[in-house]
C-alpha cells in the first residue's frame, strides 16, 4: 500500500483510461459491465484515500514523469479537487450497477457503452486532478468526445441530432477555453495553474488587456460546458435523448466538473491578480443566474417529457451554483460548492428513477406515468425525496445549499436576491409537485398498469442516492464543513 500511496493522483486517471481500453476490446455487454463495475468502484476508494490525505496532511503534489513543476505537468490535489474527485467518482460508482439492465434495454451498444463511460470518467477525473491548464483542456476534450458518443447511443433518432449539436457547441466552448489559456500563456509563459496565479500578479498591471480577454474567453468557454444560462441550449435535448444511465451520469458529474474548473480559474488563478468583486463579471453572473433560475424553471413547468423537464430543472439548479460564484463571499461560495455535490446526488437520483420507469413502461411522458406510484412505490418514493431536495425542503440536502446561498445573499445586504431564491424554489414546487400528483393521486394509465417495481440492481442505486439526499440534509459534516473550508481557502487567496 505504501508503494502505491504516492501515485494515487495519477491512478485516478490511468485506471479508468486502461479500463476503457480493455472494455473497447470486449465483445459482450456483460463482461464490459463487470470490468466497468470493478473500475468505477475502485475510483471512490482512491479518491477517498486522497481526500483523507489532504484533510490530514495538506495538498498533494504529483510530478508526472518526475519533471519538476512548472516545467512538467503537475497533478495537484488540494481539498477542493479532492472533494470534487470524491463526488464524481462516487456518483460514477453508485450509478454503475443500474447500467447493466438499463443499457441492454435502451441501446444496442454492449461493451462500447462501458468503454465510453470509463473514458468519460477518466476525462472528468483528469480535469479535476490536474494542476496544468493545458492538460485540463486535453481531459476536457476526452470527456467531451466520449460524452457525444454516450448521447448518440440513445435509440431515439433525435439523439444523433442532439449529439451533433452538442459536439458543435462543446467544441466551440473547449476552443474558447484554449484561446483563453493561450492568451495567459503568452502573457505569463506558464501553464501550471499555481505558477500562472503567481506570475499574473506581476503581469496584470502592465498587461491587463490580454488577461481580461483571457478571463472572458475562459468564462464563456467553460460556461458553455457547464450550461450557464444563455449557453445552455445543448443541454435539454442531450439529456432527453441520451440513454438514462448516461443522462444521470452526465447530470451528476460533467456539468459539475465544468463548474469546478470555472471556480478554479476565477478564484484560484485570476482572483490573485484581479480585484474580482470590482469587475462587472460577478454582476453579470448573478444576473444570468437569476435568469436561469426563473426562465429554465418556468420552461420545466410546461414540459411533459419528464427527462426534458429535469434537464431544464438542471439548468435552473446550475443557476443557483453560479449565483454563489457571483456573490463571491464566504457563505455564497460555500453554498455553491455544497450545491455542486448536493445537486449531483439529487439529480442523479431523479434521472435514475426515470430510467427505472422507462425500463418498466417504455415511456417518460407525464400522462403515461399517472398512477404509477402504486405500482412502483419504492422508486416513486425516491422521486419524491429527490424532488423535495430540488425544492430545498428542510431535512434534505437541497435545503443546506440554499441556506448557505441565502446567507450569502444576506451578507451582501441584498434582500431582493433572498426573495429571488425563495420564489424560484416555489416554481420548483410546481414542476415537481405536478409529477408527484400525477404519479400518486391519479387513475392508472394503461401503460402504468403494466408496471412492476424496478429490479433490485436498479432499485439499490436509486435508494442509495435518495438516502444520501436525506443524509446530507441532516449531517453536514461531510459536505458543508469541507465546502466552507474550501471556500475560505479560495477566498483567502483573493486580492
Amino acid at each position: 500500500m505504501t508503494a502505491i500511496t504516492p501515485h494515487l493522483p495519477v491512478l485516478q486517471v490511468v485506471v479508468p483510461l486502461i479500463g476503457a481500453f480493455l472494455a473497447g476490446l470486449l465483445r459482450r455487454g456483460t463482461s464490459g459491465f463487470l470490468l466497468a463495475l470493478a473500475v468505477s468502484w475502485l475510483m471512490p476508494i482512491i479518491a477517498g484515500a486522497m481526500l483523507y490525505q489532504t484533510l490530514t496532511s495538506g495538498p498533494i503534489s504529483y510530478h508526472l514523469g518526475g519533471w519538476e513543476p512548472p516545467y512538467g505537468i503537475e497533478y495537484r490535489v488540494d481539498l477542493f479537487n479532492a472533494f470534487v474527485l470524491m463526488l464524481v467518482s462516487s456518483v460514477g460508482a453508485v450509478i454503475m450497477p443500474f447500467a447493466r439492465r438499463s443499457i441492454a434495454f435502451e441501446t444496442d451498444a454492449g461493451a462500447w457503452f462501458y468503454c465510453m463511460y470509463l473514458l468519460c470518467l477518466a476525462g472528468l477525473l483528469g480535469i479535476t486532478v490536474t494542476g496544468d491548464a493545458f492538460n485540463a483542456f486535453v481531459f476536457l476534450e476526452i470527456s467531451s468526445l466520449s460524452t457525444y458518443v454516450l448521447i448518440a447511443l440513445g435509440r431515439d433518432r433525435r439523439a444523433l441530432l442532439s449529439a451533433f449539436q452538442y459536439l458543435i457547441m462543446g467544441t466551440i466552448g473547449a476552443t474558447f477555453y484554449i484561446i483563453g489559456v493561450g492568451l495567459i500563456y503568452l502573457v505569463t509563459g506558464s501553464l501550471n495553474m499555481q505558477d500562472i496565479a503567481a506570475r499574473l500578479v506581476d503581469a496584470f498591471p502592465t498587461q491587463s488587456r490580454p488577461v481580461m480577454a483571457a478571463l472572458a474567453f475562459i468564462a464563456v468557454g467553460v460556461g458553455l460546458k457547464l450550461a450557464m444560462f444563455p449557453l445552455h441550449v445543448w443541454l435539454p435535448n442531450a439529456y432527453a435523448y441520451a440513454p438514462s444511465v448516461a443522462t444521470a451520469f452526465l447530470a451528476g458529474t460533467a456539468t459539475k466538473v465544468a463548474i469546478y474548473l470555472l471556480i478554479r480559474f476565477f478564484y484560484g488563478i485570476f482572483g490573485h491578480a484581479i480585484d474580482f468583486r470590482a469587475l462587472t463579471v460577478t454582476a453579470l453572473i448573478i444576473g444570468l443566474s437569476i435568469a436561469a433560475m426563473f426562465i429554465a424553471s418556468f420552461i420545466a413547468v410546461f414540459e411533459t417529457n419528464l427527462k426534458r423537464m429535469l434537464a431544464y430543472s438542471s439548468v435552473a439548479q446550475i443557476g443557483y451554483i453560479t449565483l454563489g460564484i457571483g456573490l463571491a463571499n464566504q457563505n455564497g461560495l460555500t453554498g455553491s460548492i455544497v450545491h455542486l455535490a448536493n445537486h449531483a446526488v439529487m439529480k442523479a437520483a431523479l434521472f435514475l428513477v426515470l430510467g427505472a420507469v422507462f425500463f418498466r413502461i417504455g415511456s417518460v411522458k407525464l400522462h403515461d406515468l399517472s398512477g404509477i406510484g402504486h405500482r412502483m412505490p419504492l422508486t416513486m418514493t425516491a422521486f419524491v425525496i429527490g424532488g423535495l431536495g430540488i425544492i430545498g425542503t428542510p431535512g434534505t440536502a437541497g435545503f443546506i445549499s440554499k441556506w448557505y446561498l441565502a446567507l450569502g445573499a444576506f451578507n451582501e445586504g441584498s434582500w431582493p436576491l433572498l426573495l429571488v431564491i425563495v420564489v424560484s424554489s416555489l416554481i420548483a414546487v410546481i414542476y415537481i409537485g405536478r409529477v408527484v400528483e400525477v404519479a400518486w393521486f391519479r387513475e392508472e394509465s394503461p401503460l402504468a398498469a403494466t408496471a412492476r417495481e424496478a429490479p433490485l440492481d436498479m432499485l439499490v442505486p436509486i435508494m442509495v442516492l435518495a438516502a444520501a439526499t436525506i443524509y446530507f440534509g441532516i449531517d453536514t459534516r461531510a459536505t458543508a464543513s469541507i465546502a466552507s473550508q474550501v471556500a475560505a481557502m479560495l477566498l483567502g487567496g483573493l486580492r
Partner: protein
C-alpha cells in the same frame, strides 16, 4: 500610419483573428452539417496559429544545445499544438461519423430539413 505599422507588425494575429472569425461565422451561418464541421475545423486551426506564431523567434533555431547556436525558438507551443491537432482530428472524425449516421437516419444533412423531420414524428 501608426495603426498600419501596428497591423503589419502583428500580421500573424490579424491572420489568426480572421481565421477565427471566419470559422465561427461558418459554424453559425451554415445549415449544412458538413460545412459546419469545416467551419469548426477552421476555427480550431486558428488556435494552432495563435500558439505557434509567438513561439517563433526570428533567427532562432530548433532547441538543440550546441555552442554554435545562441537563439532558440520556443519548442513548447509546438508540442502543445501537436496535442491540440490530435484533439481536432478526433473531433472532426467523430463529427463526420455523426453526420453520416444522421444522413442515414434522416436522408439529409441540411439542418432545417432535419428539424422539420425530427418534429413530425
Amino acid at each position: 500610419m501608426r495603426e498600419l505599422q501596428l497591423i503589419a507588425g502583428h500580421y500573424n494575429y490579424v491572420a489568426t483573428m480572421f481565421l477565427m472569425m471566419a470559422g465561427l461565422y461558418i459554424v453559425v451561418a451554415r445549415g449544412n452539417m458538413v460545412k459546419k464541421m469545416v467551419g469548426l475545423s477552421i476555427f480550431q486551426t486558428s488556435v494552432y496559429l495563435l500558439y505557434i506564431a509567438p513561439g517563433k523567434i526570428i533567427g532562432g533555431t530548433a532547441p538543440i544545445i550546441d555552442p554554435i547556436f545562441k537563439v532558440y525558438s520556443n519548442p513548447l507551443p509546438h508540442v502543445l499544438i501537436l496535442t491540440a491537432i490530435v484533439v481536432g482530428v478526433a473531433t472532426l472524425a467523430l463529427g463526420m461519423a455523426l453526420v453520416v449516421r444522421i444522413n442515414e437516419t434522416y436522408g439529409t444533412i441540411e439542418e432545417d430539413e432535419i428539424f422539420a423531420k425530427a418534429d413530425e414524428k
